[in-house]
């Protein structure tokens, strides 16, 4: 059995913040990740990463790390301590019984969103959620990259990497909302 859990890439997850519904969905999804986990997240260099979760770039007091992880991998490392970390875009993902894909959607869902309101954002995020719910790798892998850039989507490389995993998948969405104007989804894909 292979499982893939999809979670947002928000820095506030590093601070264990966020709405209770999101926290509950995260806890529930992470509890279903068996054994060894490979975190998949956007990184400036592809392939295996090691390093530290460093909160000082976000204004949290402390000593800056000499080996800070990029955001998505830091979120993954924070959510699943001890997981191995894989930076994308890359070639095919390494073999693993389970993956944690750290990626989120548009940042233009509402007037108060980080990128203000873009009417196209809701449909884009809905497409992502539909692909996750259906376990539809082709659909997840064929999102419009140019539009994604305009909508401040940071999750595209991780989703595209996940779309390259062999299916078929049964999909389940535990959470899909934009509480702060950014499209967050927590979902699970399972393959027997």
């Amino acid at each position: 059995m292979t499982r893939v859990v999809f979670v947002p890439s928000a820095p506030l997850l590093l601070l264990d913040a966020g709405p209770p519904e999101l926290r509950a969905a995260l806890a529930s999804a992470l509890a279903r990740l068996p054994g060894e986990v490979v975190v998949v997240g956007a990184a400036p260099v592809p392939g295996w990463w090691t390093g530290s979760v460093d909160l000082t770039p976000y204004g949290v007091r402390g000593t800056p790390a000499t080996d800070p992880l990029p955001l998505a991998l830091a979120v993954g490392a924070h959510l699943v301590p001890g997981a191995r970390l894989w930076g994308v875009p890359s070639g095919p993902l390494p073999e693993s019984p389970s993956y944690l894909v750290v990626a989120d959607g548009t940042a233009k869902r509402t007037l108060k969103a980080p990128g203000h309101l873009d009417e196209r954002a809701e449909a884009f995020d809905a497409e992502v959620v539909a692909a996750l719910a259906a376990g539809d790798a082709d659909r997840l892998g064929s999102l419009d990259a140019e539009l994604a850039g305009e909508l401040w989507v940071q999750g595209l490389p991780a989703w595209q990497a996940a779309a390259g995993l062999p299916g078929p998948w049964r999909g389940e969405v535990l959470y899909a909302d934009a509480p702060y104007g950014v499209g967050y989804a927590v979902a699970i894909w399972q393959r027997d």
Binding site: A10, Y58, A107, A113
Partner: protein, 286 residues
């Protein structure tokens, strides 16, 4: 250092001591909580607002009607007992310079003795030690209780305060008062003109550097009033400015009439200093 007052541990943040006067004539509330029912309502309110310590007094600080010890004890003990019953976990302080009143209040369940007049009755120390209670050591310019300052002058007021208070605190610990329950208070306005109180505010760090937790009693006092030429009703902003300055430098406890406003100021200062995180973490982090 964690403050522990008669066994009650306080959080490692800036703290509020709420003022509750069972007096008919205190300068700001002017008898509003003199009656037992009114005083209890006030206690309920400040506890609900989040006060960490409740400070009960039965005699106004300034000169005025003579209050015999028996009458002071009656006012204070009745309220202490009632509050102890309703709020078993709140740290309960009693503001008195009399050993007999201190004893009666500690017997009734008070946790902390706030002697604002430099402890004119030395036996008070033994009483506090006997009960294992906390103690606020206050600099009052070496004046007798309820005396207004008149042309007070110090070669160095900060040095006088530091040496007086560290000696008092050391003496208290030597007498058996638990170290983790001893605080020092420079006594703004007590035996001081406004320049002297302002100087002590500016030099809070010198008091903090003694290592003793510092209590600041600033609320709506005359030194704020003279800065702004305002009466007590209009001294909130000045009080809060002084509060922020002292908290920023590390003072721990703030005796206050305005609990919610003071807590908000302290929470903000604590967040600025990195002592507490923001309650919400969303801006730029979503």
């Amino acid at each position: 250092m964690t403050l522990r007052i008669r066994g009650k541990a306080l959080p490692d943040t800036s703290l509020v001591m709420a003022i509750v006067n069972r007096t008919p004539d205190s300068f700001y509330d002017k008898g509003a909580t003199y009656g037992l029912a009114e005083a209890l309502d006030r206690v309920d309110q400040v506890v609900a607002e989040g006060a960490h310590v409740v400070d009960i007094g039965g005699v106004k600080a300034a000169p005025g009607e003579e209050v015999p010890a028996e009458e002071e004890a009656r006012r204070v003990v009745e309220l202490v007992a009632a509050v102890r019953d309703r709020h078993p976990d709140v740290v309960l302080s009693v503001d008195t310079f009399r050993a007999s009143v201190a004893r009666a209040a500690l017997e009734a369940g008070a946790d902390l003795l706030n002697d604002a007049w430099e402890m004119p009755e030395p036996e008070t120390l033994e009483v506090v030690a006997e009960f294992g209670a906390g103690l606020v050591c206050t600099h009052a310019g070496h004046l007798p209780p309820r005396t207004r300052p008149h042309r007070v002058a110090y070669p160095d007021v900060v040095a006088d305060v530091v040496s007086t208070l560290t000696a008092m605190a050391d003496k208290a610990v030597a007498a058996g008062v638990p170290r983790e329950g001893v605080l020092i208070d420079p006594g703004h306005d007590f035996g001081k003109n406004s320049r002297q109180s302002l100087l002590l505010t500016d030099r809070t760090a010198d008091l903090v550097a003694t290592g003793w937790p510092v209590l600041m009693a600033l609320s709506r006092k005359d030194f704020v009033g003279e800065v702004l030429d305002l009466l007590p009703d209009d001294r909130l902003e000045g009080t809060l400015a002084a509060t922020a300055v002292c908290a920023f430098q590390g003072a721990r406890v703030f005796r206050a009439h305005d609990v919610t406003a003071t807590l908000r100021v302290l929470r903000t200062v604590d967040a600025i200093r990195g002592r507490v995180p923001p309650v919400v973490n969303v801006r730029g982090l979503a």
